[in-house]
Symmetry: C2
Subunit: 189 residues, 2 copies
DNA sequence: CACATGATGTTAGTCACTAACATGACGTGC
DNA sequence: GCACGTCATGTTAGTGACTAACATCATGTG
């Protein structure tokens, strides 16, 4: 039972993705996207706050906060965030590969989109940091841990979107692995 | 002998900073900034590509690339970037404390400005990663190292701008310190 | 003083985004 | 089935960032 709202929104998003990919983000007006979806430009803005938002649609934040809270407090903040992201990635429903690729490629190739993506990233960062702060981690340390992990993750994403060949999952684990503490010689887990 | 161009640019920047701080970024039009500096809005855009650019003015990138290249190749990419940033920070001429504070506070408190700041950050990230790639580091690893360090640094900056009391330098070293490898038990330097 | 050059002003336009009000589709109570 | 309310949408008019084309004014040079 997709409601009318959901259908319109999906139509807008899909029209936007296709037009932007074909002709470039800057060469397509919101007016055109709306027309392609069969609605007026006002309807576009009722569904998306900005032109960029039709491409950047990530409602994952709450999941991530909980994932951080689920980590053992004995670990360093950085390590808690790192594991939370790895865990959350594994648990997420893998979105359609092709479409994700198109979206990330768009973002990787356009300054304005990248900027907005970073802005979203920052919201996520705040959520992660908040979860750490609740657990007693000082604010600066919490934000730094979140910032470092998301910086790494974003780098992996953009690198993939810019033309990397492997799977996205592999890149993410590899990126976050780079932030892992080196294994102790004792073999302690 | 400051050229006319330089004087106009400085006037615009200072007018922008003052007006934005007084009344908020969104409540001041470019027109008003230009008027306060005694020029027309076209002149504003000849000096700054966007409204945000009058606040975000960081020409540090080239220095950072060289700082990375100066690090011993034996270190991990992450560690090379980390040390390069610490080194570069120490070598930079400390800019006027008050003005920097005002700028960072503006950025920390405004979504659009933060987004643009991240966009700049990405350029820096690319410069750092490039320096690593030249040294033989794979692209993904290089971008991740740069992303993580700059993510941490940005978090420290924004945290400071949002109302932290200590010195900025201390926060930066503390933030980057969080990414340092743990000291080995052997006491090896 | 004629001249070239570069910074600036003027004007008019595009486009993202917003506000106010009108219309149209849909289900609910009766 | 019909009045009614609600919610998605359309229409219109506006603001403000940013651009392009052309005019002007300052500056230094011969």
């Amino acid at each position: 039972m997709t409601s009318r709202t959901e259908r319109t929104r999906a139509a807008l998003q899909s029209a936007a993705l296709q037009l932007f990919t074909e002709r470039g983000f800057d060469e397509v007006t919101v007016e055109e996207v709306a027309a392609a979806a069969g609605v007026s430009h006002m309807t576009f803005f009722r569904h998306f706050p900005t032109k960029e938002a039709a491409v950047l649609d990530d409602p994952y934040d709450p999941v991530l906060g909980d994932a951080v809270r689920a980590q053992p407090a004995a670990l360093s903040p950085l390590e808690r965030v790192r594991r939370a992201l790895l865990m959350a990635w594994g648990a997420l429903p893998e979105p359609g590969e092709g479409e994700t690729r198109a979206r990330v490629a768009l973002v990787a190739g356009h300054d304005g989109l990248r900027a907005k993506a970073w802005a979203n990233n920052q919201r996520t960062q705040d959520v992660l940091a908040e979860a750490l702060v609740e657990g007693g981690v000082p604010s600066l340390e919490a934000h730094v841990a979140a910032g470092a992990c998301l910086g790494a993750l974003m780098a992996a994403l953009l690198d993939w979107g810019a033309g990397g060949e492997g799977g996205l999952g592999d890149r993410i684990s590899s990126a976050l692995g780079q932030l892992a503490p080196p294994p102790t010689a004792e073999g302690g887990a």
